[in-house]
Symmetry: C2
């Protein structure tokens, strides 16, 4: 059992992790740290955390694990903040949705990559955020990708972080940070860019045209209501892969345009049919989880 | 009250229209016609239609209104089928999601555009189709666009069709077929192309990558599970506008790529923020309907 863990950033992900740990009884004491005291009071009142401090020194006293669950954009700042208060046994992990950038950030702040730093990314979330959206089951049957730094990250720390996530029902997959950032750019960042881009396109035409959107539009556009700051930071931290996938995706659009333009409707229908099948298989697998 | 109406194609839209009319008590007798007798039997058993015939001559006997609710692709064939059995008082309407093409089709089959032909498009639907998905409330507070042919379509026929849809809770808007096809290409056909295109892009990479899709992907990709035949036909019947909007949308994607590439993250965040607001306003308006 972990004696004392500190969760930095008690929002949707940090809070859900905390409440999940409380349920799994894997930790003795969960300490919250956040810049927003109201948030921490709410979290304590809800029983999500055992205690909190606005003073990082107090928050980190005697903790063996620190989970950084703040948005990607404040990661460097948090690393600087915790630096004076950790020792070489403290396990540090995170939940950032870009992984090369966090490894780069820790190297830049610490001058080296600590062997107890375990970069991780739970692939779960909602388009809403904040302490009031927390959900102890949000990670159940979800994937958590851990991207250890080859030759540096130690197995013991990976094991500890793995067990914590597994106790919340998550499945662990290990891969390189580069592979993670490429995959996520394709399956998460690209769809978000398409949804933001579509709303932008409609706004640039006339936002009133949304009156003519049909039923399916509501679901399709849901991810365009995601947090703008978080997505700005994801874009700045995974630029290379996001740009690559937007450009390559445009070739798929070009293909559709060419098929329509050249009246190759059988080929077009095959694409639609394959898309329908892949999407239905995907949704079916989700249900069976 | 309408004495006798025939609904050709008793699927999601035709069936929902029928069950809605039964409730509104606007018609005496609803006759179904379909190529699939099992469908018609189900519809009759469910009380969606009063009777049916597989013989178009019998189905159309004494009807004053014909609603063609088959997919866009079979519209011309249906026009040919009904031609010998209508008179110059029969009001014909449709539910096709492209309007210039239906006007062109009727002119081509009849040699002229009948004054009692009222092109209409209820902007409602689901990604699933068929008689088992019918819903008497599907048109409630939804928009039905009517695109009369200037100088030809008579006001009386427009009025009759308007009242039928209004009795199902729908709101009517009149516009040109060109305007309709342009608007729908932007708000409905484009999003479908983006979703089909994304699934195609993922399949072309590796369909297993869908394992790394996060929560939002399920909703975003739902419209990619739409009927492939229907969407093939929409593409062939609204090629010009769909191509125009895919190409113009790609400029929105280019804009995102340029902002990311040039590290203009404040501008990027403003686009995300505006997108979020527009999407939330849209969803809010839907709730208040």
């Amino acid at each position: 059992m972990i004696n004392r863990i500190c969760i930095i950033g008690v929002g949707l992900i940090g809070g859900s992790f905390a409440i999940g740990l409380k349920n799994s009884k894997k930790t003795q004491t969960i300490i919250g740290f956040d810049t927003n005291e109201k948030n921490l009071i709410t979290a304590k009142n809800l029983g999500v955390i055992d205690n909190y401090s606005l003073d990082i020194k107090i928050a980190l006293k005697d903790v063996s694990i620190i989970l950084i669950a703040t948005p990607v954009g404040s990661f460097t700042q948090i690393l600087k903040l915790i630096k004076p208060h950790i020792n070489d046994k403290t396990i540090i992990s995170d939940v950032c949705s870009t992984k090369s950038s966090v490894i780069k950030a820790i190297k830049s702040v610490y001058g080296y990559i600590p062997k107890n730093f375990v970069p991780a990314h739970p692939i779960a979330g909602k388009e809403i955020s904040g302490i009031h959206s927390i959900d102890k089951k949000i990670f159940n049957n979800k994937l958590v990708v851990i991207t250890p730094v080859n030759g540096i990250t130690n197995d013991y720390s990976i094991q500890i972080i793995t067990e914590l996530w597994q106790s919340l029902g998550a499945n662990i997959e290990i891969m390189t940070d580069e592979k993670h950032d490429d995959l996520l750019a394709m399956t998460s960042h690209l769809p978000h860019m398409l949804a933001f881009g579509l709303m932008d396109y409609l706004i640039c035409n006339d936002v009133k045209y949304l009156n003519y959107a049909a039923g399916g539009f509501k679901d399709f556009s849901r991810i365009a209501a995601s947090n703008n700051i978080m997505w700005r930071d994801i874009c700045s931290n995974n630029s290379k892969h996001i740009i690559k996938h937007i450009k390559a995706y445009q070739q798929s659009l070009d293909k559709l345009v060419n098929l329509i333009d050249n009246k190759k409707f059988d080929e077009l229908e095959k694409i639609f049919k394959d898309a329908k099948k892949a999407r239905n298989d995907y949704a079916h697998n989700l249900k069976n989880e």
